[in-house]
Amino acid sequence: MPTIKSLDDLKRIRAEALRKQELKTTSGKTEIIVGMGTVGIAAGARETLKAILDYIDHNNLENVIIRQTGNIGIDSYEPVVQVILPGAEKVTYGRVNTEIAKVIMDEHVVNNRIVTDYKIEG
């Protein structure tokens, strides 16, 4: 069972993360919301979320919060992903497969450029 080795690892991870948090300014956190209703899941939302987590992991992005929500109400656009940068309006993207998820992470989350090609609701 992995829980035994984990406790020391956890303490180390926590100490490290807290240290990094102190170094940061109070710029707030980026929120990413993935629609995980039945339709979203069937359309591949789990893989989309996983791609986002992989991106955060590989690029060491900090201060990003992931949330999942039920049906956002636009079934034909699933998987749906919403991005809220600190102090900015919520932006909704549709039909976000793993490739598009990476583009959104690159452009919007990291470089603050909204990816209009995949944006929905105007």
């Binding site: 069972m1 995980m36 209703g37 996983k50 992931i66």
Partner: protein
């Protein structure tokens, strides 16, 4: 849906939507009995008997004021097509339990799929829920209760990169240890 792991994700999302702050998922694969049993139990707001009937078979009702999804009927149908059964019990104010069983060796049984990914999605996507995951394959077992982890990480987001890596390795290695030798891998 092509994997039972996706159905589990779907049912567990109903629990999140029902306001549960504790959800237990148990998967038991028993070669001896030739069964695969999945239980998802939550302490959400629960449902009335009428509502339970409705979510199980949305086509028999004329009720129109509420939107009902197809996730549960699809899972029920999948189980009943594999010499299995589907059971949902719920009590208002207490919570809901969904239990489903398949004949393990049935030709039409969906593969379990990527259960580690489903756990990771739930763990990191619904942070305020206390998740308990339990997977048994014959006499081997993976058990994970996130309350200790969350206590140790107090003040830290679970979606910090290092924490993601850590949790991912717990699920991946834990589930892999259960695999029989003849395992076939997805790409």
């Amino acid at each position: 849906m092509r994997e039972l792991a996706l159905h589990i994700l779907d049912i567990a999302n109903n629990s999140i939507a029902a306001g549960a702050d504790k959800v237990s998922i148990t998967i038991v694969e028993n070669q001896g009995d030739d069964t695969l049993t999945i239980k998802i139990q939550d302490n959400g707001k629960g449902m009335s008997p009428e509502m339970v009937a409705l979510v199980t078979d949305p086509f028999v009702t004329s009720r129109t004021e509420r939107k009902v999804g197809l996730g549960i009927p699809m899972l029920k149908y999948a189980a009943e097509s594999c010499n299995g059964w589907f059971k949902i019990t719920s009590e208002v104010g207490k919570g809901t339990q969904v239990a489903v069983q398949f004949q393990l060796s049935h030709i039409d049984r969906m593969p379990l799929g990527d259960i580690a990914d489903t756990f990771l999605t739930l763990e990191l996507g619904a942070l305020n829920v206390n998740w308990v995951f339990n997977v048994k394959r014959d006499e081997k077992e993976f058990y994970f209760d996130d309350s200790e982890l969350k206590k140790e990480l107090e003040g830290i987001e679970l979606t910090e990169p290092e924490v993601i890596r850590f949790i991912r390795s717990i699920f991946k290695e834990g589930i892999e240890e259960l695999q029989p030798l003849k395992v076939t891998r997805r790409n």
